[in-house]
Symmetry: C2
Subunit: 295 residues, 2 copies
């Protein structure tokens, strides 16, 4: 069966209602994206496919989550390639609404999530997570999925959506999925296509630096010492322009005392970086789960 392409909310609701009417045990898995799909997205789609009877992919470059100086207009798009990746992953419905379909009149309602958005990209990109939370709430209301799949490359986004779903009692299970990387370690991102050859080469420093995190923690570094080490390591690359290197508790995203020795912490911590190479801003992170690490 070929994938169904749907562009209007009304048709999408009818198609989902038909699945649910057909079989009361239908479960809907949902993967929200901005398109220009890569293997990271494909891994989410396959996981949804394996856990649900119906899998829906949405492709919508959401203007609300872009700042005025950001890359909304040049964000990469390729419907045909995306459709074929969706089809290979076994997606049932691709929802590709227009901006007009999603925002038919001026949007007066805003959802904001406090605390979780205070640092990292929430600080660097004011309004970004309001835009994310608001469009995800809309898409959840349109699709009413049983499960929704998000990549942990956007770890703060996962934390924001999880908090919103909890606070607003949205009946959906948020499933966080691991970062997918190129063989050389670069975290997959639709924005990687912007990178010049040399920028891409130097961007490998992000993963290389993050891979040192656990040994630095073992060595007894404090939060601020670890941040310094990472900044130093990334800063060796002349094309790297650091936006932030931050360490927060996860998923609360709350600050950790800079003087705190990280070894022996009993909660998860997120070590996250945002670095510009040329005009392209990349993010990457590592989640350190102390309880599982048995420390």
């Amino acid at each position: 069966m070929t994938v169904q392409i749907i562009r209007t909310i009304k048709e999408l609701r009818l198609a989902i209602a038909a699945y649910r009417a057909d079989n009361a045990k239908t479960t809907v898995g949902y993967v929200p994206t901005m398109g220009y799909l890569h293997e990271g997205h494909a891994s989410l789609l396959r996981q949804s496919k394996s856990e649900n009877s119906v899998t829906i992919l949405s492709i919508f470059v959401n203007p609300l989550q872009f700042g005025p100086q950001e890359d909304l207009d040049k964000y990469p798009r390729d419907e045909q390639r995306d459709t074929s990746i969706a089809e290979q992953a076994g997606v049932d419905i691709v929802f590709m609404p227009s901006v007009q379909e999603m925002y038919p009149s001026s949007m007066l309602t805003n959802i904001s999530v406090a605390e979780v958005t205070a640092g990292l990209c929430g600080f660097s990109r004011p309004g970004h997570f309001d835009g994310v939370a608001t469009v995800i709430a809309k898409l959840f209301n349109i699709i009413r999925p049983d499960r929704a799949y998000f990549g942990l490359k956007d770890a703060q986004q996962v934390a924001v959506v999880t908090q919103m779903v909890h606070d607003l009692n949205i009946p959906v299970e948020i499933v966080p999925c691991p970062i997918v990387r190129e063989v050389d370690g670069l975290a997959l991102s639709s924005r990687n296509v912007y990178l010049q050859e040399q920028e891409r080469q130097q961007a490998l420093i992000l993963n290389q630096s993050l891979m040192q995190v656990s040994s630095y923690i073992q060595a007894g570094l404090t939060t601020e010492q670890l941040i310094d080490k990472l900044k130093e390591s990334i800063g060796q690359k002349p094309l790297a322009n650091i936006d932030y290197v931050e360490i927060v508790a996860y998923p609360s995203m709350t600050m950790i005392d800079p003087k705190q020795i990280l070894k022996g912490q009993n909660s998860s911590i997120l070590v996250a970086v945002a670095v510009k190479f040329g005009k392209t801003r990349l993010i990457d992170n590592v989640l350190v789960n102390f309880s599982e690490a048995g420390e």
Copy 2:
């Protein structure tokens, strides 16, 4: 069949799922309230009952929508009387969650609706409509009603909820219902119990003044002239302390030019008042629908 009293979200969801599983054509009508029910609420319940197979009433005095100086603690409550009114109206489920059940951890997510909340009670009670929008979104996510019934005494609340539901694609039909009044014209409100004998007597001026609105409009008054007339009329009562008298387009709640002659307008307008009598703040309004009035 007696009414079912439910206090937890989990049990409520199970009860609703059972109705829906039992009959795929189930429609759920929902009336959100803060309890201390009066005939205004009862009219909403009866309308829901006549239009849906299942009617759910929620009673929750929502702390989020009260300002620090407001009457949260002394807001009147009477579970037993409310339950009996619900039963008489044919309600199937009364949902009475605790504050702990609705806000189990610190609430980080906020929903705000711009423009519609700029004037009237949105201006007088900062944060009030954020609290309303947020709790209504939660309750809609918990109950997933097909229709929800709101009284037009809180006309701005109806406008806020309608805008939010539209903007966030919440699949529920908002049904606005007419104001219910005592025989002497006082708009029903749970807060009326606060009124001293003399205050209650003087509060009749609100409805008496609003009843003059259409003849004032016929006489060719401008927005500001009508406002002045109403302030003058209400101000004759020594115990009346005017918070606002406002005229806005409905349901956009946008300002109308003060110099505009209201006769012959081609959209609906809302004439709304908030007046304190002693410590009790009362609101009342009249909706003037020019197209139906045949002008």
